[in-house]
């Protein structure tokens, strides 16, 4: 118990420091501009706040549509116990993406413009629409099983429960569109993106791997709620998610690798450049490690094994999205980009805030099944 107590305080201190740094960085950003707070420049206009907060953030929140599809459309009811926490994190993830965008947009107060001034040729426009509507869908999904605590909401909540399957299908549709749009953003820069990452199929890759990220994030989250909040999700359930995650990843990887062969890009893998090294790192962390763990019968039945597979996958996923948005763009920008401490502090602050909100939500809403049974 004592060790636990110290540990929690330690993380609280770390969290507080990050939040303070984030506040200072935000002050600089909003009063002195992006130039003062970031390492962005005319040569390198998109950095961590796009690559991590938006491109990766949306991907990591894919658990919402993945798990609801598994449970409600494919009717694998045994995964029902992870629906609520996953939908909650997805909802928070999307809100976080929207809020984080305020830091990155030069005219943040005009963030609503894409909803009014349309340019349907722009993948960013599509992204804006999908992210806003999907956040609403997630909000409704989440309300349908949290708000019935309150008498006033009984009727609307019953209505939401009635149309729940519609919400789920709508959510999957919108997610398909915007998860792939994140890749479409980069389709228009064929000569700027490093050949190892450019493909006309980027939208397909991005959609496919977002499913893997959704499953991986569910595993990682349940690790945290197990460590911090003592909510246990049966290991076999998580192990199956990890298996699904790896099957999807391997399918993606074969398609991706075929594309490399067809376009004669294999030599880029062995030319020893910075890019090839980043590619190998991405491959090992994202594809190789999770695959080895999942196919090892001894490792995958252990809680730790499942978590390591999930962690590795998520790390690799992050690496991939940052490689596309940063490493691969450096090639043509002929500029080196490394985020400033302010950029890191702001992104980290959002992660801390999410942890806090998640903890509070777990306390105040019945988001874990077991709890509900106890109170009944």
């Amino acid at each position: 118990m004592e060790i636990k107590g110290i540990k929690i305080t330690f993380w609280k201190i770390v969290g507080a420091i990050i939040l303070i740094l984030g506040a200072i960085a935000s002050f600089q950003r909003f009063f002195y501009g992006l130039g003062a707070a970031t390492h962005l420049s005319d040569k390198f206009p998109w950095g961590l706040w796009v690559g991590f907060d938006v491109i990766s953030g949306v991907g990591l929140a894919a658990g919402g549509f993945t798990i609801t599809a598994i449970v409600y459309i494919f009717n694998l009811k045994k995964y029902h116990c992870i629906v609520k926490p996953t939908v909650l994190t997805a909802f928070m993830g999307y809100v976080f993406v929207g809020v984080a965008l305020l830091w990155d947009l030069g005219k943040y107060f005009d963030i609503w413009h894409p909803l009014v001034y349309w340019n349907h040729h722009s993948p960013m426009f599509e992204l804006a629409w999908c992210v806003s509507t999907y956040t609403l869908v997630l909000f409704l999904e989440f309300s349908s099983y949290t708000l019935d605590k309150f008498k006033w909401f009984k009727k609307p909540v019953n209505f939401l429960k009635g149309i729940y399957i519609l919400l789920v299908i709508l959510g999957v549709l919108i997610s398909t569109l915007h998860q792939s749009s994140l890749g479409t953003i980069y389709v228009i820069v064929p000569e700027k993106l490093y050949p190892l990452w450019y493909s006309k199929l980027l939208p397909v890759y991005f959609f496919f791997t977002s499913i893997g990220a959704g499953l991986g994030m569910t595993i990682v989250e349940s690790y945290f709620s197990w460590r911090a909040l003592k909510h246990e999700i049966p290991t076999p359930i998580l192990a199956n998610l990890a298996r699904g995650m790896v099957v999807i990843q391997l399918t993606y990887f074969v398609a991706y690798f075929e594309d490399l062969i067809v376009h004669n890009k294999l030599h880029y893998l062995f030319d020893g450049t910075f890019y090839s090294k980043m590619w190998w790192l991405e491959f090992i962390v994202w594809t190789l490690i999770p695959t080895i763990i999942v196919f090892n019968k001894k490792w995958i039945i252990k809680r730790v094994g499942v978590f390591v597979a999930g962690f590795s996958y998520i790390l690799g996923f992050l690496l991939n999205r940052l490689n596309v948005s940063t490493t691969a763009m450096e090639y043509s920008a002929k500029a080196h980009y490394f985020p400033s401490w302010q950029e890191v502090a702001v992104s980290a602050s959002f992660v801390v805030v999410m942890f806090i909100i998640f903890g509070l939500a777990v306390k105040y809403f019945d988001i874990f099944e077991e709890e509900k049974k106890n109170t009944n």
Binding site: G33, D42, I73, N75, I188
Partner: protein, 265 residues
Amino acid sequence: MSKAMLIDITECLGCGVCAEACKKEQHLPGKVGEELNYENYTVLKEVEEDVYFRNLCRHCVEPTCASVCPVGALHKTPEGPVVYDYELCIGCRYCMMACPFNIPKYEWHKPIPRIRKCIMCYDTRIKKGLPTACAEACQNEGGGATHFGERKELLKMAHKRIKENPDKYHPFVYGEKEVGGTGVMFLIPKNVPLEKFAGVGLKRDLPNQPLPELTWNVLNKIPIIVPVWATFLTGMWWLNNRKIEVEENNGVKPEKNEKEDKNGN
């Protein structure tokens, strides 16, 4: 009907009157600089001794910047210039990231920044039927390298020059075909290798296909995919729920899922 500029690099003296005229016309702060940025819409680069390349927005026939802008803050006018509307812009910088010539620049030092780029003197000159300030200055006070006119006419003139002096020019007009054609085009002196220009702004690896087509080929699939995907998902839902119903009717408990657990245990 599309206004354009042709820059014959062999005629450029490197005097820089174009850049100065632009500063005045567009009320840009500061002195003429070396790189395009928020206070320079056009700059000269010395490629080698006495050979200068002038960089500026190319006013693409199918502009990438306008295609990617989520709010349509950049658009191509019927007269040819690609112009910017600050009121609409949200400052996302997708235009900067996507422009194949890296033209749009940003006011990084300001809390509320604008995108800055050459607008071909749209409001002050093109609309009134006047030539651009830089072209006028170049013709009157400079070497006369920048020619202003209809895109078609300029292309004719350029090809005529190449034909008459095949030893003087590389045998093509830069900007005639690149990314579907641009409104600012260049004649390049033959005695300078093309690679030298590639580094300063005349990229050689651009496709002739307009880049907006690449994204449009993806986005226009959406109306096709949505109904198909929706039908499939709804069908799967119906199928999977029915299976359980049928099994229950036959007295089988829907325990299919439990079986998989055994693998895990």
